[in-house]
Symmetry: C2
Subunit: 193 residues, 2 copies
């Protein structure tokens, strides 16, 4: 792609990135799940995701075309729930853990138009007790079937698209999304990826 | 599980099944994708999905716990687009193909409260020309990223949960969902699964 077309395309996509939306991936181990999650993050416009790998290693993501979304979604590493949530709260995020607890709210009854970090847990263990307790709230995706669980990449997508839907409906996507200094920084950075 | 508890649980889940919602899986080949799709179908309450395998074989689904949702979602086989759509139209479904065409509607602008069959295509080729043309309409999931595609199981989940969300918001889920003869038939059938 010629430089000017590439610049135009990158500027266009960056103009639609959504600040105030991130996922916390807590020990999600399957590389296919992580790839699919990053692909959905790119599609919705997430700038960066938070990696909270305390018991597992972040999986090696393949080089398949479906995985190349990882190139466009930045990753920030955190070494503990406390530190991760501290950084996010300092940036103004409300932290919501996806876990079915007595006080959990249905996804469709949550207002997700403000800055929000959504915590997703390991495929087998779900969100840890600590990550659930320290969060500002807990939410669940309504399920009505015999099997009471969803694939974690599917769950991420349902969450992310509900955020996008609410923000589109709310009209909060009509103004330029990223602050201009973040936009400029990313534009230079992306041109060299 | 004792018989009475099992009966109660099955009756409860069947009472929440959604008639008037199905997916047409057109040559989706990856068993993980098909498993994840059936798991989401179960979670949302889809009674049966339509298999339209004209160029590929329906994949063998593993026996992992995550795949056992396939036990609770029936599958109907069709040998051509024409026959499949004929059956669905005879049952009152509006058929919407997920494909980006000039006339396609955004998912979030589609009214999905009525009976609807959503067509999903093969991982590489997408929905075929024939399946797209013969459908009653085309819809797309909004994407704002560098990579302009989603994993097919992720796309299915975004679609299915938008249908569920609209129907919950619309209040069309407050009446018993399945007709009583279908309910009775499925109840007997499920008890022996």
């Amino acid at each position: 792609m010629p430089h000017s077309r590439r610049l135009e395309r990158i500027a266009q996509i960056l103009g639609k990135r959504l600040p105030g939306l991130t996922l916390v991936l807590e020990n999600i181990h399957d590389p296919h799940n992580v790839s699919a999650i990053l692909r959905t993050c790119d599609a919705v416009g997430v700038v960066h995701v938070e990696l909270l790998y305390t018991t597992e290693s972040f999986p090696r993501i393949g080089k398949k075309s479906s995985s190349s979304a990882s190139k466009w979604v930045d990753r920030r590493k955190h070494t503990s729930v406390e530190k991760c949530y501290g950084v996010l709260r300092g940036e103004g995020y409300r932290i919501l853990a996806t876990r079915l607890e007595p006080d959990a709210q249905s996804l469709f009854e949550c207002d997700l138009t403000g800055p929000v970090a959504l915590v997703l847990g390991n495929e087998h263990r779900g969100v840890s007790d600590e990550a659930a307790k320290r969060a500002d709230g807990r939410l669940y995706i309504p399920m009505r079937g015999m099997i009471e669980s969803l694939n974690v990449s599917v769950a991420s997508a349902v969450l992310l698209y509900e955020v996008l839907r609410q923000r589109l409906a709310h009209g909060s996507l009509t103004v330029p999304a990223l602050p201009s200094d973040a936009y400029d920084h990313l534009l230079q950075d992306w041109l060299h990826r």
